[in-house]
């Protein structure tokens, strides 16, 4: 129960009068709710769109086994009330990105506390708090590491001041033609799931890529390509439709993906001059493998033999096909879910069969799940510490002691100052931040004739720039409306390319997200080709854009240059600060050669570059960094 006598009376008073928003009721959220209730906060709103899973129970201690499947926000509230029934807690089983939670909604809170696990939501809440001028405490954990920081418009940097590294993705040809690592096969298997049962995405084709630049260049492969395009009508049938023809007969599916398609790849002989060629599998002759694995493992940690893979593939296809038959109406596709047994079995089986074909080491279901599902290991203690630190930051904010607010790191080992909990001073806002500066600007490199308006909205504005309901006007003196957030107003624009609207090199677009109260000017740079088949690149500071620099310092290096290894994400070594370009986001392909993407990109603060970045560099090297 609340121990309200211990804090100095002024603080007690501010606590009692405050209204808190907690975004997320998971690992950090559960601990945070407990701390808030015990500290005397008595007006809390908690929001979470998720339901409880058994894997949450090792740390989300407000939930028990009987709550699995129920709303996190609702159950968290119930359990927290057990610590003090007299507090007011409102629970919303909802997404904080819904239009209902507008700036007026945010303005009612004294402090907003994020307890999230994804960038899109963090970026969104960041903007809403900036617009509402409400202090935000941001936090995150991963394994043994964690961070807490405070964000206040005008007083500190915001969540988007420092560009985050883009999502890792692989070139299509690597996935479709020349995998060399388990992850390539896992990604392929997930794409296969979507092609067969889910929402088919043209970017997720699983068949051999005849347009692979490596395969081209001689009469033989040109002939193959001609063959492929001649058989045009046949090859245009979607994977799903093709599978339907045989009612998802596993032997037919197996035959195509692990035999026929592989033979096709083999015929593209240029691919195999320096690589181990794949070996097609035969349905009638699945190789037996003697298991030499250690005992004492969890069942899921045993690596399946090819025969076991086939078994799992057969049974999971049966289940998934049955499920998709039972769907009707608009929801006619399945969504892959790592916690769904059949979905997970399917991906494990198919990725391992593919690995076998390409002589790549196989992975256990346990490991495949982590890679396919992007699982971040999590424990109770890290979340407990971070949630405690969040409340301490809140105390400072409530007392008006902004100068005492800190960016606090939880390290796995004592740093140079013997600290495992290490505060460092907050950084001031990036004057060129693409969100919180007075006139936000970004530059986007893309191919104006190939990028459709729909893609631009989905992948650039929503995906990369985290807008949720953008309005876009072309700055052409005519006020051409490219995208309208009003339903139906610009539908006919969506399938057209940007160039159809006379958008060309140097065109400026005026983007607005009314909900986020966010205005952004975008300058388009037309590039016919970006490295590694990327669709677009977003650059934060256009004034620093040099054609060559864009190639050299934007994220993962292209394979043609002899490049240095990318900076390590482990911060016990010093983190390299990228003072050239601030690349916000790149969609498309990351080069295989560079497994580790830089996790921190720091801007160069003009005029303060020496002092600012040097001390920051040192500070970064003192602490373990996880990227929020």
């Amino acid at each position: 129960m609340a121990d309200v006598n211990v804090a100095p009376s002024l603080l007690d008073d501010s606590i009692r009068k405050s209204k808190i928003l907690v975004v997320g009721a998971g690992g950090i959220g559960c601990e945070l709710l407990k701390n808030l209730v015990l500290s005397g906060f008595n007006d809390i709103l908690v929001i979470d769109l998720d339901t409880i899973d058994v894997s949450n129970l090792n740390r989300q201690f407000l939930f028990q086994k009987e709550h699995v499947g129920k709303s996190k926000a609702v159950i968290a509230r119930e359990s927290a009330l057990g610590f003090n029934p007299n507090v007011t807690i409102v629970a919303k089983h909802d997404s904080v990105m819904n239009s209902e939670y507008n700036v007026t909604f945010f303005k009612q809170f004294t402090v907003v506390m994020n307890a999230l696990d994804n960038r899109a939501a963090r970026s969104h809440v960041n903007r809403m708090c900036l617009a509402a001028n409400v202090p935000l405490i941001e936090s995150g954990t991963a394994g043994y590491l964690g961070q807490v920081t405070a964000i206040r418009k005008g007083l500190s940097e915001c969540y988007d001041c420092n560009p985050k590294a883009g999502q890792k993705s692989f070139p299509g040809c690597t996935i479709r033609n020349t995998p060399s690592e388990p992850i390539h096969c896992i990604v392929w298997a997930k794409h296969l799931f979507n092609q067969l049962f889910g929402e088919a995405d043209p970017d997720e084709d699983v068949s051999p890529d005849t347009a692979d630049p490596e395969a081209a260049g001689d009469a033989g492969s040109v002939a193959l390509q001609n063959q492929a395009s001649e058989a045009g009508n046949v090859t245009r049938v979607s994977t799903r439709a093709w599978a339907q023809q045989s009612e998802y007969d596993p032997s037919k599916l197996f035959g195509k993906f692990f035999c026929d398609d592989i033979k096709y790849l083999l015929s593209m002989d240029k691919l195999w001059t320096k690589r181990t060629p794949p070996t097609p599998l035969s349905w009638d002759n699945i190789p037996e493998e003697i298991s030499d694995q250690q005992g004492g493992l969890i069942k899921d940690q045993k690596v399946w033999s090819p025969a076991e893979c086939v078994q799992a593939m057969v049974s999971s296809i049966k289940i998934l096909y049955q499920r998709s038959k039972e769907l009707n109406g608009e929801e006619s596709f399945l969504v892959w879910d790592k916690d769904d047994e059949a979905s997970m079995d399917f991906v494990t089986a198919c990725s391992n069969l593919r690995s076998h074909v390409f002589s790549i080491p196989k992975k256990s279901r346990f490991d495949v799940k982590a890679m396919a599902g992007n699982i971040i290991p999590a424990i109770a203690t890290t979340n407990a510490v971070i949630a405690g630190l969040i409340v301490f930051e809140a105390f400072k904010i409530l007392e008006g002691k902004w100068e005492e607010c800190r960016h606090v790191y939880l390290n796995s080992k004592p740093n140079a100052l013997n600290k495992v909990i290490a505060p460092s001073s907050l950084d001031s806002a990036n004057p060129k931040c693409y969100v919180c500066s007075p006139h936000p600007e970004v530059t986007v490199l893309l191919n104006v004739s190939q990028m459709t308006v729909q893609s631009f909205e989905d992948k650039v504005l929503r995906g990369a720039l985290h807008m949720i309901s953008p309005d876009v006007m072309v700055d052409d003196g005519k006020g051409t409306v490219l995208i309208s957030s009003e339903e139906g107003e610009t539908t006919e624009n969506m399938s057209k390319s940007l160039s159809d609207f006379n958008i060309s090199d140097g065109t400026r677009l005026r983007c607005e997200d009314f909900h986020q109260e966010y205005d952004l000017n975008i300058t388009i740079i037309d590039r016919e080709h970006l490295e590694e088949n990327r669709e677009f690149t977003v650059i934060a500071d256009p004034s620093q854009l040099q054609p060559k620099a864009a190639v050299e310092s934007s994220g993962p290096q292209p394979s043609t240059s002899s490049s240095k290894p990318a900076p390590s994400t482990r911060a016990t070594e010093s983190v390299e600060i990228d003072e050239d370009l601030d690349v916000i986001f790149q969609k498309g392909c990351a080069n295989d050669d560079h497994q580790q993407e830089p996790s921190i990109r720091k801007r160069s603060i003009s005029g303060q570059a020496d002092i600012g970045s040097a001390s920051k560099k040192l500070r970064l090297s003192e602490n373990d960094i996880i990227e929020l």
């Binding site: 129960m1 121990d3 006598n5 211990v6 804090a7 100095p8 601990e31 407990k34 701390n35 209730v37 015990l38 500290s39 058994v54 090792n58 740390r59 201690f61 086994k65 057990g82 610590f83 060399s180 690592e181 320096k274 690589r275 181990t276 004492g296 969890i298 069942k299 940690q301 002589s359 790549i360 982590a370 699982i375 290991p377 999590a378 424990i379 109770a380 203690t381 890290t382 407990a384 510490v385 949630a387 405690g388 630190l389 409340v391 005492e404 800190r406 939880l410 004592p414 100052l417 013997n418 600290k419 495992v420 909990i421 290490a422 505060p423 001073s425 497994q595 001390s615 040192l618 003192e622």
Partner: protein, 362 residues
């Protein structure tokens, strides 16, 4: 030492502990699964430790506390209707609910009545709310039976703990560079996250030795080193005026002398500072402080007595921070994985919001 019986993890446990097995490995989870822990004192800090350890999947947790549950306590495991009962009995149901797979046992006796035989049945002993003399007694018994010992407390906005792991062997993963490609061909590469296991041994000292260590010689030397390195890495603008610099020095010694002062208060007054006696308790703390500083030959002026405003009760976030770090240390010790803290941890949520590790008494 944790029993070396071959422990298996069931499918249900594998599902429940999935996210943590992915962090510390199956071997560590199995060792946890065999660990019997004694937790003495179930206040705010004790509740946090109990929660964290129960969730981690130890074999058993014995809760030992003879005190009665009061209202407005930082122990969130006590439902309102259980106020007035013994504190461990009042908390039992909520602890057990956290993880039905862990045996939760309660003991309402006063710890001072417990003899050597009692402690020898545990793999780890963790004490909270004890007078330092009692901690010293129990630590000595644990030493005799090679049992890792922890003693910690939260006072208001901050807290600390001491740890004695006797002679502790542990392993850690260190990165090795991934193999390079041959002849520039795009052959398969090794798994980039290659690590190798390295073993180390750490020596610890008993609580008595640490508590009686001459602070003036040890601490000042260490404090000066830390303050000096502070000056090197931070510009003076970051620190503000020179008064802040003095405070920094004071803070360094403050960790230890504040904790020592509070423990001395507890021994002399047979209770912790309480809000009902705020003013007189602050006066008493100042008196103790002056005594300690005099022993350390440090200037009286350097320590701001405002800090004593912040040592009352047990603030929930302070218990969460100290309890989180302490419980994780117990997990490390049981699993013999990763370097444990040696031998003190201090956290202050009122002054510099830092969690500091200090080796004292070596």
């Amino acid at each position: 030492m944790v029993a070396k019986e071959e422990v298996t993890i069931s499918e249900a446990e594998a599902a429940l502990y999935d996210r943590q097995i992915r962090l510390w490995g199956l071997e560590a989870q199995k060792r946890l699964r065999a660990a019997r822990v004694l937790l003495i004192g179930l206040g705010g800090l004790g509740a946090e430790i109990a929660k964290n350890l129960t969730l981690s999947g130890i074999k058993s947790l014995t809760l030992l506390d003879h005190s009665i549950a009061v209202a407005n306590s930082a122990n969130f495991l006590i439902p309102l209707e259980n106020v007035g009962k013994n504190v461990v009995e009042a908390s039992l149901e909520r602890v057990q609910r956290l993880n039905p797979m862990v045996d939760i046992l309660t003991d309402t006796e006063n710890v001072t009545a417990k003899n050597e035989d009692f402690f020898s049945g545990f793999d780890v002993v963790c004490a909270t709310r004890l007078p330092v003399e009692e901690s010293i007694r129990i630590n000595a018994i644990c030493r005799k039976h090679s049992i890792p010992f922890y003693s910690g407390d939260v006072f208001g906005f901050g807290g600390f703990f001491f740890v004695d792991l006797l002679e502790h062997e542990y392993s850690e993963e260190v990165n090795v560079p991934a193999a390079t490609l041959k002849d520039g061909c795009t052959a398969k590469k090794n798994d980039p996250s290659e690590t190798k296991t390295v073993k180390h041994t750490l020596n610890y000292i008993p609580l008595q030795a640490a508590f009686e260590a001459d602070p003036s010689s040890q601490l000042n030397k260490r404090s000066w080193q830390r303050i000096k390195s502070h000056f090197i890495t931070m510009k003076s603008t970051d620190l503000g005026s020179t008064t802040v610099a003095f405070v920094s020095l004071a803070l360094a010694s403050l960790y230890v002398d504040l904790t020592t002062g509070l423990l001395m208060f507890r021994s002399q007054m047979k209770r912790d500072p309480e809000a009902a006696n705020r003013q007189s308790d602050i006066a008493k703390l100042c008196e103790i402080r002056d005594h300690i500083l005099h022993e350390m030959k440090l200037d009286n002026q350097m320590v701001d007595s405002g800090i004593f405003e912040t040592v009352f009760g047990e603030l929930s976030p302070a218990a969460a921070v100290v309890g989180g770090v302490l419980a994780q240390e117990i997990i490390k010790a049981v699993s013999h994985k990763d370097a444990p803290i040696r031998n003190h941890f201090f956290f202050n949520g009122a002054t510099d919001f830092s969690g500091v590790v200090e080796a004292i008494g070596f």
